[in-house]
Protein backbone atom coordinates (compact mmCIF):
# COMPACT_ATOMS: atom_id res chain seq x y z
CA UNK A 1 0.00 0.00 0.00
CA UNK A 2 2.76 2.45 0.98
CA UNK A 3 4.68 1.51 -2.14
CA UNK A 4 1.58 2.21 -4.23
CA UNK A 5 1.04 5.63 -2.65
CA UNK A 6 4.71 6.48 -3.16
CA UNK A 7 4.57 5.45 -6.81
CA UNK A 8 1.48 7.58 -7.36
CA UNK A 9 3.13 10.56 -5.69
CA UNK A 10 6.18 10.22 -7.95
CA UNK A 11 3.92 10.05 -11.02
CA UNK A 12 2.36 13.30 -9.84
CA UNK A 13 5.59 15.25 -10.37
CA UNK A 14 5.59 15.27 -14.21
CA UNK A 15 1.86 16.05 -14.25
CA UNK A 16 2.28 19.09 -12.00
CA UNK A 17 5.26 20.19 -14.09
CA UNK A 18 3.29 19.95 -17.37
CA UNK A 19 0.32 21.77 -15.80
CA UNK A 20 2.74 24.47 -14.62
CA UNK A 21 4.34 24.83 -18.07
CA UNK A 22 0.92 25.10 -19.77
CA UNK A 23 -0.33 27.72 -17.30
CA UNK A 24 2.95 29.63 -17.53
CA UNK A 25 2.78 29.54 -21.32
CA UNK A 26 -0.67 31.19 -21.29
CA UNK A 27 0.79 34.65 -20.79
CA UNK A 28 3.20 34.12 -23.68
CA UNK A 29 0.53 32.84 -26.09
CA UNK A 30 -0.92 36.34 -26.28
CA UNK A 31 -0.35 37.97 -29.67
CA UNK A 32 2.41 40.57 -29.28
CA UNK A 33 3.91 42.00 -26.11
CA UNK A 34 2.05 40.56 -23.07
CA UNK A 35 2.52 43.80 -21.14
CA UNK A 36 0.97 45.85 -23.95
CA UNK A 37 -1.93 43.40 -24.25
CA UNK A 38 -2.62 43.61 -20.51
CA UNK A 39 -2.46 47.37 -20.22
CA UNK A 40 -4.34 48.17 -23.43
CA UNK A 41 -3.91 51.11 -25.80
CA UNK A 42 -3.63 53.91 -23.27
CA UNK A 43 -0.48 52.61 -21.57
CA UNK A 44 2.56 54.91 -21.48
CA UNK A 45 6.04 53.50 -22.16
CA UNK A 46 6.79 53.94 -18.43
CA UNK A 47 3.75 51.87 -17.46
CA UNK A 48 4.82 49.16 -19.87
CA UNK A 49 8.36 49.11 -18.53
CA UNK A 50 7.08 48.93 -14.95
CA UNK A 51 4.73 46.04 -15.70
CA UNK A 52 7.39 44.19 -17.66
CA UNK A 53 9.63 44.56 -14.67
CA UNK A 54 6.90 43.48 -12.21
CA UNK A 55 6.16 40.35 -14.22
CA UNK A 56 9.83 39.69 -14.90
CA UNK A 57 9.20 39.70 -18.65
CA UNK A 58 12.72 40.95 -19.37
CA UNK A 59 14.34 37.77 -18.08
CA UNK A 60 15.02 34.78 -20.34
CA UNK A 61 12.03 32.36 -20.49
CA UNK A 62 13.56 29.54 -18.37
CA UNK A 63 14.45 32.05 -15.63
CA UNK A 64 10.92 33.46 -15.76
CA UNK A 65 9.47 29.96 -15.46
CA UNK A 66 11.63 28.92 -12.51
CA UNK A 67 10.81 32.18 -10.76
CA UNK A 68 7.06 31.86 -11.42
CA UNK A 69 6.86 28.15 -10.61
CA UNK A 70 8.83 28.67 -7.39
CA UNK A 71 6.18 31.18 -6.37
CA UNK A 72 3.36 28.81 -7.31
CA UNK A 73 4.85 26.09 -5.07
CA UNK A 74 4.61 28.60 -2.20
CA UNK A 75 1.04 29.49 -3.26
CA UNK A 76 2.24 32.88 -4.48
CA UNK A 77 0.66 33.68 -7.86
CA UNK A 78 1.78 37.31 -8.03
CA UNK A 79 -0.45 40.38 -7.87
CA UNK A 80 -3.69 41.03 -9.69
CA UNK A 81 -3.43 43.83 -12.25
CA UNK A 82 -7.05 44.91 -11.82
CA UNK A 83 -8.17 44.22 -8.27
CA UNK A 84 -4.89 45.52 -6.84
CA UNK A 85 -4.29 42.71 -4.35
CA UNK A 86 -2.30 39.47 -4.32
CA UNK A 87 -3.93 36.79 -6.51
CA UNK A 88 -3.88 34.30 -3.62
CA UNK A 89 -6.00 36.73 -1.52
CA UNK A 90 -8.46 37.27 -4.34
CA UNK A 91 -8.79 33.51 -4.80
CA UNK A 92 -9.24 32.83 -1.09
CA UNK A 93 -12.01 35.46 -0.96
CA UNK A 94 -13.87 33.54 -3.68
CA UNK A 95 -13.11 29.97 -2.78
CA UNK A 96 -16.11 29.38 -0.48
CA UNK A 97 -18.89 29.66 -3.11
CA UNK A 98 -16.99 27.48 -5.61
CA UNK A 99 -16.12 24.81 -3.06
CA UNK A 100 -19.66 24.65 -1.68
CA UNK A 101 -21.25 24.70 -5.15
CA UNK A 102 -19.07 21.78 -6.26
CA UNK A 103 -19.70 19.86 -3.03
CA UNK A 104 -23.50 20.30 -3.21
CA UNK A 105 -23.45 19.33 -6.89
CA UNK A 106 -21.55 16.19 -6.01
CA UNK A 107 -24.13 15.40 -3.30
CA UNK A 108 -26.90 15.85 -5.87
CA UNK A 109 -24.97 13.57 -8.22
CA UNK A 110 -24.79 10.82 -5.58
CA UNK A 111 -28.30 11.29 -4.14
CA UNK A 112 -29.87 11.12 -7.61
CA UNK A 113 -27.40 8.88 -9.44
CA UNK A 114 -26.99 5.95 -7.03
CA UNK A 115 -30.68 5.21 -6.29
CA UNK A 116 -31.63 5.74 -9.93
CA UNK A 117 -28.95 3.28 -11.02
CA UNK A 118 -29.89 0.70 -8.38
CA UNK A 119 -33.64 0.82 -9.12
CA UNK A 120 -32.89 0.66 -12.82
CA UNK A 121 -30.79 -2.49 -12.37
CA UNK A 122 -33.12 -4.25 -9.94
CA UNK A 123 -36.10 -3.51 -12.19
CA UNK A 124 -34.06 -4.31 -15.30
CA UNK A 125 -35.93 -3.58 -18.59
CA UNK A 126 -38.98 -2.16 -16.76
CA UNK A 127 -40.59 1.22 -17.50
CA UNK A 128 -38.59 2.76 -14.63
CA UNK A 129 -35.36 1.41 -16.13
CA UNK A 130 -36.23 2.96 -19.49
CA UNK A 131 -37.16 6.32 -17.97
CA UNK A 132 -33.89 6.45 -16.00
CA UNK A 133 -31.89 5.62 -19.14
CA UNK A 134 -33.68 8.24 -21.26
CA UNK A 135 -33.30 10.94 -18.58
CA UNK A 136 -29.64 10.05 -18.08
CA UNK A 137 -28.88 10.20 -21.81
CA UNK A 138 -30.73 13.51 -22.23
CA UNK A 139 -29.02 14.88 -19.11
CA UNK A 140 -25.66 14.34 -20.78
CA UNK A 141 -26.86 16.31 -23.82
CA UNK A 142 -28.10 19.41 -21.96
CA UNK A 143 -25.30 21.94 -21.50
CA UNK A 144 -25.18 23.22 -17.90
CA UNK A 145 -25.88 26.80 -18.92
CA UNK A 146 -29.03 25.88 -20.86
CA UNK A 147 -30.35 23.72 -18.01
CA UNK A 148 -29.59 26.61 -15.65
CA UNK A 149 -31.51 29.07 -17.86
CA UNK A 150 -34.48 26.66 -18.08
CA UNK A 151 -34.59 26.27 -14.29
CA UNK A 152 -34.34 30.04 -13.78
CA UNK A 153 -37.18 30.48 -16.24
CA UNK A 154 -39.41 28.00 -14.37
CA UNK A 155 -38.52 28.49 -10.69
CA UNK A 156 -37.51 32.15 -10.61
CA UNK A 157 -39.25 33.96 -13.47
CA UNK A 158 -42.57 32.00 -13.54
CA UNK A 159 -43.05 30.55 -10.05
CA UNK A 160 -40.96 33.02 -8.00
CA UNK A 161 -39.96 30.21 -5.65
CA UNK A 162 -36.21 30.67 -5.80
CA UNK A 163 -33.83 33.53 -6.61
CA UNK A 164 -32.56 33.72 -10.20
CA UNK A 165 -29.01 34.29 -9.02
CA UNK A 166 -26.72 35.80 -6.42
CA UNK A 167 -25.07 34.27 -3.38
CA UNK A 168 -25.56 34.45 0.40
CA UNK A 169 -22.64 33.11 2.47
CA UNK A 170 -23.61 30.18 4.70
CA UNK A 171 -22.43 31.90 7.90
CA UNK A 172 -24.60 34.94 7.15
CA UNK A 173 -28.00 33.31 6.62
CA UNK A 174 -28.08 29.51 6.17
CA UNK A 175 -31.69 29.43 4.87
CA UNK A 176 -31.05 32.08 2.23
CA UNK A 177 -27.76 30.36 1.43
CA UNK A 178 -29.41 27.05 0.63
CA UNK A 179 -32.17 28.76 -1.34
CA UNK A 180 -29.59 30.56 -3.46
CA UNK A 181 -27.57 27.39 -4.03
CA UNK A 182 -30.38 24.95 -4.79
CA UNK A 183 -30.79 25.69 -8.50
CA UNK A 184 -27.06 26.09 -9.26
CA UNK A 185 -26.11 22.86 -7.45
CA UNK A 186 -28.85 20.85 -9.13
CA UNK A 187 -27.93 22.32 -12.52
CA UNK A 188 -24.29 21.41 -12.07
CA UNK A 189 -24.88 17.93 -10.60
CA UNK A 190 -27.59 16.78 -13.00
CA UNK A 191 -25.59 15.57 -16.00
CA UNK A 192 -22.97 13.88 -13.78
CA UNK A 193 -25.86 12.17 -11.95
CA UNK A 194 -26.97 10.64 -15.25
CA UNK A 195 -23.47 9.33 -15.91
CA UNK A 196 -23.27 7.86 -12.41
CA UNK A 197 -26.73 6.28 -12.72
CA UNK A 198 -25.71 4.50 -15.93
CA UNK A 199 -22.53 3.20 -14.34
CA UNK A 200 -24.20 2.05 -11.11
CA UNK A 201 -26.86 0.32 -13.22
CA UNK A 202 -24.37 -1.66 -15.27
CA UNK A 203 -22.16 -2.58 -12.31
CA UNK A 204 -25.26 -3.60 -10.28
CA UNK A 205 -26.36 -5.82 -13.18
CA UNK A 206 -22.93 -7.49 -13.11
CA UNK A 207 -22.96 -7.98 -9.36
CA UNK A 208 -26.52 -9.33 -9.32
CA UNK A 209 -25.30 -12.22 -11.47
CA UNK A 210 -22.59 -13.20 -8.98
CA UNK A 211 -22.79 -16.52 -7.15
CA UNK A 212 -22.97 -14.97 -3.68
CA UNK A 213 -26.01 -12.92 -4.67
CA UNK A 214 -27.72 -15.98 -6.08
CA UNK A 215 -26.85 -17.88 -2.88
CA UNK A 216 -28.26 -15.10 -0.71
CA UNK A 217 -31.48 -15.06 -2.72
CA UNK A 218 -31.65 -18.87 -2.73
CA UNK A 219 -31.43 -19.13 1.03
CA UNK A 220 -34.51 -16.92 1.21
CA UNK A 221 -33.16 -13.46 2.05
CA UNK A 222 -35.54 -10.72 0.89
CA UNK A 223 -34.43 -8.90 -2.29
CA UNK A 224 -34.17 -5.61 -0.45
CA UNK A 225 -31.57 -6.83 2.01
CA UNK A 226 -29.61 -8.66 -0.69
CA UNK A 227 -29.47 -5.45 -2.73
CA UNK A 228 -28.45 -3.17 0.14
CA UNK A 229 -26.42 -5.67 2.15
CA UNK A 230 -24.58 -7.66 -0.49
CA UNK A 231 -24.81 -6.23 -3.98
CA UNK A 232 -24.68 -2.46 -3.53
CA UNK A 233 -21.43 -2.44 -1.56
CA UNK A 234 -19.57 -4.15 -4.35
CA UNK A 235 -21.32 -2.31 -7.13
CA UNK A 236 -20.35 1.05 -5.65
CA UNK A 237 -16.60 0.44 -5.88
CA UNK A 238 -16.34 1.28 -9.60
CA UNK A 239 -18.74 4.18 -8.99
CA UNK A 240 -16.09 5.78 -6.81
CA UNK A 241 -13.83 6.31 -9.83
CA UNK A 242 -16.62 7.99 -11.77
CA UNK A 243 -17.34 10.30 -8.84
CA UNK A 244 -13.65 11.18 -8.78
CA UNK A 245 -13.28 11.86 -12.50
CA UNK A 246 -16.57 13.73 -12.73
CA UNK A 247 -15.11 16.23 -10.26
CA UNK A 248 -13.25 17.62 -13.26
CA UNK A 249 -16.53 18.17 -15.08
CA UNK A 250 -18.00 19.70 -11.91
CA UNK A 251 -15.08 22.08 -11.34
CA UNK A 252 -15.13 23.10 -15.01
CA UNK A 253 -18.91 23.31 -15.02
CA UNK A 254 -18.75 25.50 -11.92
CA UNK A 255 -17.11 28.22 -14.03
CA UNK A 256 -20.14 28.21 -16.34
CA UNK A 257 -22.74 27.73 -13.58
CA UNK A 258 -21.32 30.61 -11.51
CA UNK A 259 -21.68 32.85 -14.55
CA UNK A 260 -25.30 31.79 -15.20
CA UNK A 261 -26.34 32.32 -11.56
CA UNK A 262 -24.00 35.30 -10.88
CA UNK A 263 -22.26 33.54 -7.99
CA UNK A 264 -19.08 35.40 -6.93
CA UNK A 265 -16.78 32.36 -7.01
CA UNK A 266 -13.41 31.54 -8.57
CA UNK A 267 -14.95 30.56 -11.89
CA UNK A 268 -16.75 33.86 -12.32
CA UNK A 269 -13.51 35.62 -11.38
CA UNK A 270 -11.74 33.79 -14.22
CA UNK A 271 -14.43 34.82 -16.73
CA UNK A 272 -14.37 38.44 -15.53
CA UNK A 273 -10.58 38.48 -15.64
CA UNK A 274 -10.58 37.52 -19.33
CA UNK A 275 -12.23 40.81 -20.28
CA UNK A 276 -9.91 42.69 -17.88
CA UNK A 277 -6.87 40.86 -19.31
CA UNK A 278 -5.84 40.13 -15.74
CA UNK A 279 -3.50 37.25 -16.59
CA UNK A 280 -1.99 36.66 -13.13
CA UNK A 281 -5.52 36.01 -11.79
CA UNK A 282 -6.40 33.69 -14.70
CA UNK A 283 -3.14 31.79 -14.23
CA UNK A 284 -3.60 31.52 -10.48
CA UNK A 285 -7.21 30.37 -10.64
CA UNK A 286 -6.59 27.85 -13.43
CA UNK A 287 -3.55 26.47 -11.60
CA UNK A 288 -5.45 26.20 -8.31
CA UNK A 289 -8.46 24.45 -9.88
CA UNK A 290 -6.27 22.02 -11.87
CA UNK A 291 -4.25 21.16 -8.76
CA UNK A 292 -7.42 20.53 -6.74
CA UNK A 293 -8.62 18.19 -9.48
CA UNK A 294 -5.31 16.31 -9.62
CA UNK A 295 -5.08 15.91 -5.83
CA UNK A 296 -8.70 14.80 -5.37
CA UNK A 297 -8.24 12.21 -8.11
CA UNK A 298 -5.13 10.93 -6.37
CA UNK A 299 -7.10 10.64 -3.12
CA UNK A 300 -9.91 8.79 -4.91
CA UNK A 301 -7.44 6.34 -6.46
CA UNK A 302 -5.81 5.68 -3.08
CA UNK A 303 -9.22 5.26 -1.45
CA UNK A 304 -10.16 2.84 -4.22
CA UNK A 305 -7.15 0.66 -3.52
CA UNK A 306 -7.86 0.87 0.21
CA UNK A 307 -11.49 -0.23 -0.15
CA UNK A 308 -11.01 -2.97 -2.74
CA UNK A 309 -8.37 -5.52 -1.66
CA UNK A 310 -8.38 -7.08 -5.14
CA UNK A 311 -6.90 -3.90 -6.62
CA UNK A 312 -4.44 -3.65 -3.74
CA UNK A 313 -3.07 -7.14 -4.35
CA UNK A 314 -2.60 -6.35 -8.02
CA UNK A 315 -0.85 -3.09 -7.26
CA UNK A 316 1.70 -4.21 -4.69
Amino acid sequence: MTAYVMRRLILLVPVILVVGIVVFALIHLTPGDPAAVMLGDRATPEDLARLRNQLGLNDPLPVQFVHWFGGVLHLDFGDSLFIGEPVTRALLDRVQPTLLLTTYAMLFQIIIGVPAGVISAVRHNSIVDRIVTVVAISGAAIPTFFLGILLILIFAVRLHWLPSGGYTPINEDPVKHFKSMLLPSFTLGFSSAGLLARLVRSSMLDVMREDYVRTALAKGLPLRSVVTGHALRNALIPALTVIGTSLGALLGGAVVTETVFTIPGMGRLVVQSIARRDYPVIQGAVMAIAMTYVLVNLLVDILYVYIDPRVRLGAD
Binding site: L17, V22, P143, L251, G252, V256
Partner: protein
Amino acid sequence: MVATTSPVAESFALAEGVRPQRRAQWLHSLTGNPVTLVAGVIISLITLAAIFAPLLSSHSPTFLDPGIRLQGPSDSFLFGTDDGGRDVFTRVIYGGRVSLLIGVGVTLASAVAGSLLGLLSGYYPRADSLIMRTMDGLMAFPSILLAIAIMASLGPSATNVFISLAVVYTPTVARLVRSTTLVTKQQPYVESARSIGMSDKAILLKYIFPNGISPLIVQCTFVVAYAIISEASLSFLGAGVNPETPTWGNMLRDGQRVLQRAWWLSMFPGIALVLTVLSLNLLGDGLRDALDPRARKR
Protein backbone atom coordinates in the same frame (compact mmCIF):
# COMPACT_ATOMS: atom_id res chain seq x y z
CA MET B 1 -8.34 -22.48 -35.60
CA VAL B 2 -6.68 -25.12 -37.81
CA ALA B 3 -3.43 -24.03 -39.41
CA THR B 4 -3.68 -25.16 -43.02
CA THR B 5 -1.19 -22.66 -44.44
CA SER B 6 1.99 -21.11 -43.08
CA PRO B 7 1.56 -18.94 -39.98
CA VAL B 8 2.68 -15.85 -41.90
CA ALA B 9 0.11 -16.28 -44.65
CA GLU B 10 -2.56 -17.07 -42.11
CA SER B 11 -1.98 -13.95 -40.11
CA PHE B 12 -2.09 -11.80 -43.24
CA ALA B 13 -5.38 -13.44 -44.14
CA LEU B 14 -6.61 -12.61 -40.65
CA ALA B 15 -5.70 -8.98 -41.08
CA GLU B 16 -7.20 -8.49 -44.50
CA GLY B 17 -9.62 -11.22 -45.46
CA VAL B 18 -12.36 -10.78 -42.89
CA ARG B 19 -12.92 -7.08 -43.39
CA PRO B 20 -15.60 -6.91 -46.13
CA GLN B 21 -17.80 -9.40 -44.30
CA ARG B 22 -17.52 -7.52 -41.03
CA ARG B 23 -18.43 -4.26 -42.75
CA ALA B 24 -21.69 -5.70 -44.06
CA GLN B 25 -22.53 -6.90 -40.56
CA TRP B 26 -22.08 -3.58 -38.82
CA LEU B 27 -23.97 -1.65 -41.47
CA HIS B 28 -26.86 -4.03 -41.00
CA SER B 29 -26.68 -3.75 -37.25
CA LEU B 30 -26.52 0.05 -37.46
CA THR B 31 -29.52 0.58 -39.70
CA GLY B 32 -31.52 -2.04 -37.79
CA ASN B 33 -31.54 0.09 -34.64
CA PRO B 34 -34.46 2.58 -34.80
CA VAL B 35 -32.97 4.97 -32.21
CA THR B 36 -29.70 5.25 -34.15
CA LEU B 37 -31.63 5.70 -37.37
CA VAL B 38 -33.74 8.56 -35.96
CA ALA B 39 -30.62 10.18 -34.49
CA GLY B 40 -28.93 9.94 -37.88
CA VAL B 41 -31.93 11.51 -39.62
CA ILE B 42 -32.07 14.41 -37.11
CA ILE B 43 -28.35 15.11 -37.50
CA SER B 44 -28.71 15.03 -41.30
CA LEU B 45 -31.65 17.46 -41.17
CA ILE B 46 -29.78 19.89 -38.88
CA THR B 47 -26.73 19.70 -41.16
CA LEU B 48 -28.84 20.30 -44.28
CA ALA B 49 -30.61 23.24 -42.60
CA ALA B 50 -27.23 24.77 -41.74
CA ILE B 51 -25.81 24.28 -45.25
CA PHE B 52 -28.92 25.57 -47.03
CA ALA B 53 -29.71 28.30 -44.47
CA PRO B 54 -30.02 31.08 -47.12
CA LEU B 55 -32.66 29.00 -48.98
CA LEU B 56 -34.70 28.27 -45.85
CA SER B 57 -35.07 31.86 -44.72
CA SER B 58 -35.44 35.15 -46.54
CA HIS B 59 -34.39 37.14 -43.45
CA SER B 60 -30.84 38.22 -42.70
CA PRO B 61 -29.25 36.76 -39.57
CA THR B 62 -27.51 40.04 -38.73
CA PHE B 63 -29.70 42.89 -40.07
CA LEU B 64 -30.92 45.08 -37.17
CA ASP B 65 -34.54 46.31 -37.25
CA PRO B 66 -35.45 47.94 -33.91
CA GLY B 67 -39.05 48.37 -35.12
CA ILE B 68 -39.79 44.70 -34.65
CA ARG B 69 -37.70 43.94 -31.54
CA LEU B 70 -38.66 41.19 -29.05
CA GLN B 71 -41.71 39.89 -30.89
CA GLY B 72 -42.99 36.49 -29.78
CA PRO B 73 -43.16 33.48 -32.11
CA SER B 74 -45.75 34.06 -34.86
CA ASP B 75 -46.50 33.09 -38.46
CA SER B 76 -44.12 35.69 -39.88
CA PHE B 77 -41.41 35.02 -37.28
CA LEU B 78 -41.53 31.32 -36.44
CA PHE B 79 -39.19 31.58 -33.42
CA GLY B 80 -39.87 35.31 -32.71
CA THR B 81 -37.36 38.16 -32.94
CA ASP B 82 -34.50 39.21 -30.63
CA ASP B 83 -33.77 42.56 -28.95
CA GLY B 84 -32.23 43.84 -32.19
CA GLY B 85 -35.28 42.83 -34.24
CA ARG B 86 -33.44 39.95 -35.91
CA ASP B 87 -35.33 36.76 -36.82
CA VAL B 88 -34.46 34.06 -34.25
CA PHE B 89 -35.24 31.17 -36.65
CA THR B 90 -32.76 32.54 -39.21
CA ARG B 91 -30.13 33.01 -36.52
CA VAL B 92 -30.65 29.47 -35.21
CA ILE B 93 -30.09 27.84 -38.62
CA TYR B 94 -27.10 30.11 -39.38
CA GLY B 95 -25.79 29.40 -35.86
CA GLY B 96 -25.78 25.70 -36.72
CA ARG B 97 -23.10 26.40 -39.33
CA VAL B 98 -20.60 27.63 -36.75
CA SER B 99 -21.43 24.86 -34.25
CA LEU B 100 -21.19 22.03 -36.77
CA LEU B 101 -18.14 23.43 -38.51
CA ILE B 102 -16.26 23.83 -35.25
CA GLY B 103 -17.51 20.44 -33.98
CA VAL B 104 -16.38 18.57 -37.08
CA GLY B 105 -13.19 20.62 -37.57
CA VAL B 106 -12.05 20.13 -33.98
CA THR B 107 -12.78 16.41 -34.23
CA LEU B 108 -10.80 16.00 -37.45
CA ALA B 109 -7.85 17.95 -36.07
CA SER B 110 -7.76 16.10 -32.76
CA ALA B 111 -8.29 12.76 -34.51
CA VAL B 112 -5.26 13.37 -36.75
CA ALA B 113 -3.02 14.79 -34.01
CA GLY B 114 -4.21 12.28 -31.42
CA SER B 115 -3.78 9.29 -33.76
CA LEU B 116 -0.26 10.37 -34.64
CA LEU B 117 0.74 10.87 -31.01
CA GLY B 118 -1.05 7.68 -29.91
CA LEU B 119 0.59 5.54 -32.63
CA LEU B 120 4.07 6.90 -31.86
CA SER B 121 3.59 6.51 -28.15
CA GLY B 122 2.19 2.99 -28.36
CA TYR B 123 4.71 1.73 -30.91
CA TYR B 124 7.94 3.32 -29.68
CA PRO B 125 8.48 2.79 -25.94
CA ARG B 126 11.05 5.57 -25.98
CA ALA B 127 8.57 8.21 -27.12
CA ASP B 128 5.88 6.86 -24.81
CA SER B 129 6.70 8.49 -21.53
CA LEU B 130 7.33 12.00 -22.89
CA ILE B 131 4.15 12.01 -25.00
CA MET B 132 1.91 10.41 -22.41
CA ARG B 133 3.13 12.54 -19.51
CA THR B 134 2.36 15.62 -21.62
CA MET B 135 -1.10 14.23 -22.41
CA ASP B 136 -1.66 13.45 -18.70
CA GLY B 137 -0.72 17.03 -17.89
CA LEU B 138 -3.24 18.41 -20.40
CA MET B 139 -5.90 16.06 -19.05
CA ALA B 140 -5.26 17.30 -15.52
CA PHE B 141 -7.27 20.41 -16.42
CA PRO B 142 -11.05 20.30 -16.42
CA SER B 143 -11.53 20.48 -20.21
CA ILE B 144 -13.67 23.62 -20.37
CA LEU B 145 -11.24 25.42 -18.03
CA LEU B 146 -8.27 24.65 -20.29
CA ALA B 147 -10.27 25.90 -23.27
CA ILE B 148 -11.18 29.12 -21.40
CA ALA B 149 -7.56 29.64 -20.38
CA ILE B 150 -6.27 29.26 -23.95
CA MET B 151 -9.04 31.52 -25.28
CA ALA B 152 -8.09 34.13 -22.68
CA SER B 153 -4.63 34.29 -24.25
CA LEU B 154 -5.55 34.00 -27.91
CA GLY B 155 -8.60 36.29 -27.89
CA PRO B 156 -12.15 35.58 -29.07
CA SER B 157 -12.53 34.27 -32.65
CA ALA B 158 -13.81 31.13 -34.36
CA THR B 159 -10.27 30.09 -35.39
CA ASN B 160 -9.03 30.40 -31.83
CA VAL B 161 -11.98 28.35 -30.53
CA PHE B 162 -10.97 25.69 -33.05
CA ILE B 163 -7.32 25.78 -31.89
CA SER B 164 -8.10 25.68 -28.19
CA LEU B 165 -10.65 22.86 -28.46
CA ALA B 166 -8.31 20.82 -30.69
CA VAL B 167 -5.68 21.07 -27.96
CA VAL B 168 -8.25 20.06 -25.34
CA TYR B 169 -9.52 16.95 -27.16
CA THR B 170 -6.28 15.62 -28.67
CA PRO B 171 -5.15 13.83 -25.45
CA THR B 172 -8.38 11.77 -25.25
CA VAL B 173 -7.82 10.45 -28.79
CA ALA B 174 -4.10 9.91 -28.17
CA ARG B 175 -4.83 7.76 -25.12
CA LEU B 176 -7.35 5.66 -27.01
CA VAL B 177 -5.13 5.09 -30.06
CA ARG B 178 -2.15 4.30 -27.83
CA SER B 179 -4.08 1.59 -26.00
CA THR B 180 -5.23 -0.12 -29.21
CA THR B 181 -1.71 0.21 -30.63
CA LEU B 182 -0.22 -1.50 -27.58
CA VAL B 183 -2.57 -4.45 -28.10
CA THR B 184 -2.24 -4.71 -31.89
CA LYS B 185 1.55 -4.47 -31.71
CA GLN B 186 1.62 -7.91 -30.00
CA GLN B 187 -0.43 -9.63 -32.73
CA PRO B 188 1.29 -12.37 -34.78
CA TYR B 189 0.57 -10.64 -38.10
CA VAL B 190 2.44 -7.54 -36.99
CA GLU B 191 5.37 -9.70 -35.98
CA SER B 192 5.16 -11.45 -39.35
CA ALA B 193 5.17 -8.15 -41.17
CA ARG B 194 8.20 -7.06 -39.20
CA SER B 195 10.00 -10.33 -39.88
CA ILE B 196 9.59 -9.99 -43.66
CA GLY B 197 11.20 -6.56 -43.39
CA MET B 198 8.29 -4.12 -43.66
CA SER B 199 9.12 -0.63 -42.49
CA ASP B 200 7.68 0.72 -39.24
CA LYS B 201 5.76 3.38 -41.15
CA ALA B 202 4.10 0.77 -43.37
CA ILE B 203 3.28 -1.46 -40.41
CA LEU B 204 1.75 1.45 -38.50
CA LEU B 205 -0.34 2.68 -41.41
CA LYS B 206 -1.30 -0.65 -42.97
CA TYR B 207 -1.87 -2.89 -39.96
CA ILE B 208 -1.90 -1.06 -36.65
CA PHE B 209 -3.91 2.07 -37.43
CA PRO B 210 -6.72 0.30 -39.37
CA ASN B 211 -7.16 -2.10 -36.46
CA GLY B 212 -7.90 0.68 -34.04
CA ILE B 213 -10.21 2.58 -36.36
CA SER B 214 -13.56 1.31 -35.01
CA PRO B 215 -13.12 2.61 -31.46
CA LEU B 216 -11.64 5.79 -32.97
CA ILE B 217 -14.74 6.44 -35.08
CA VAL B 218 -16.98 5.88 -32.06
CA GLN B 219 -14.86 8.22 -29.94
CA CYS B 220 -14.96 10.84 -32.73
CA THR B 221 -18.78 11.06 -32.71
CA PHE B 222 -18.59 11.83 -28.98
CA VAL B 223 -15.82 14.39 -29.54
CA VAL B 224 -18.03 16.21 -32.09
CA ALA B 225 -20.73 16.41 -29.40
CA TYR B 226 -18.32 17.57 -26.66
CA ALA B 227 -16.75 20.13 -28.98
CA ILE B 228 -20.17 21.56 -29.88
CA ILE B 229 -21.11 21.90 -26.20
CA SER B 230 -17.71 23.44 -25.41
CA GLU B 231 -17.94 25.94 -28.26
CA ALA B 232 -21.39 26.98 -27.07
CA SER B 233 -20.14 27.26 -23.47
CA LEU B 234 -17.17 29.40 -24.51
CA SER B 235 -19.39 31.70 -26.58
CA PHE B 236 -21.92 31.86 -23.73
CA LEU B 237 -19.13 33.02 -21.40
CA GLY B 238 -18.03 35.65 -23.91
CA ALA B 239 -14.75 33.84 -24.54
CA GLY B 240 -15.68 32.13 -27.78
CA VAL B 241 -16.70 33.14 -31.26
CA ASN B 242 -16.98 36.90 -31.90
CA PRO B 243 -20.17 38.07 -30.06
CA GLU B 244 -21.59 39.55 -33.29
CA THR B 245 -21.61 36.17 -35.09
CA PRO B 246 -24.85 34.22 -34.69
CA THR B 247 -23.97 31.04 -32.77
CA TRP B 248 -26.12 29.06 -30.34
CA GLY B 249 -23.87 29.98 -27.42
CA ASN B 250 -23.88 33.70 -28.28
CA MET B 251 -27.67 33.64 -28.71
CA LEU B 252 -28.16 32.02 -25.30
CA ARG B 253 -25.94 34.67 -23.74
CA ASP B 254 -27.96 37.47 -25.34
CA GLY B 255 -31.15 35.63 -24.41
CA GLN B 256 -30.37 35.38 -20.71
CA ARG B 257 -30.24 39.18 -20.47
CA VAL B 258 -33.91 39.46 -21.48
CA LEU B 259 -35.06 36.13 -20.03
CA GLN B 260 -37.80 37.82 -17.98
CA ARG B 261 -39.48 39.22 -21.09
CA ALA B 262 -38.57 36.93 -23.98
CA TRP B 263 -38.16 33.19 -23.29
CA TRP B 264 -37.98 32.34 -26.99
CA LEU B 265 -34.56 33.95 -27.36
CA SER B 266 -33.02 31.31 -25.10
CA MET B 267 -35.35 28.42 -25.77
CA PHE B 268 -34.87 27.84 -29.52
CA PRO B 269 -31.06 27.96 -29.76
CA GLY B 270 -30.99 25.81 -26.60
CA ILE B 271 -33.27 23.19 -28.13
CA ALA B 272 -31.21 23.16 -31.33
CA LEU B 273 -28.08 22.59 -29.25
CA VAL B 274 -29.62 19.79 -27.16
CA LEU B 275 -31.09 18.03 -30.22
CA THR B 276 -27.75 18.10 -32.01
CA VAL B 277 -25.74 16.84 -29.05
CA LEU B 278 -28.34 14.22 -28.12
CA SER B 279 -28.46 12.84 -31.67
CA LEU B 280 -24.67 12.70 -31.86
CA ASN B 281 -24.48 10.84 -28.54
CA LEU B 282 -27.16 8.34 -29.63
CA LEU B 283 -25.41 7.91 -32.97
CA GLY B 284 -22.17 7.25 -31.08
CA ASP B 285 -23.89 4.65 -28.90
CA GLY B 286 -25.37 2.97 -31.97
CA LEU B 287 -22.01 2.95 -33.77
CA ARG B 288 -20.32 1.44 -30.74
CA ASP B 289 -22.90 -1.34 -30.54
CA ALA B 290 -22.56 -2.00 -34.27
CA LEU B 291 -18.76 -1.90 -34.47
CA ASP B 292 -18.01 -3.62 -31.19
CA PRO B 293 -20.71 -6.15 -30.30
CA ARG B 294 -18.89 -7.04 -27.07
CA ALA B 295 -19.46 -3.54 -25.69
CA ARG B 296 -23.17 -3.74 -26.49
CA LYS B 297 -25.14 -2.61 -23.50
CA ARG B 298 -27.72 -4.84 -21.95
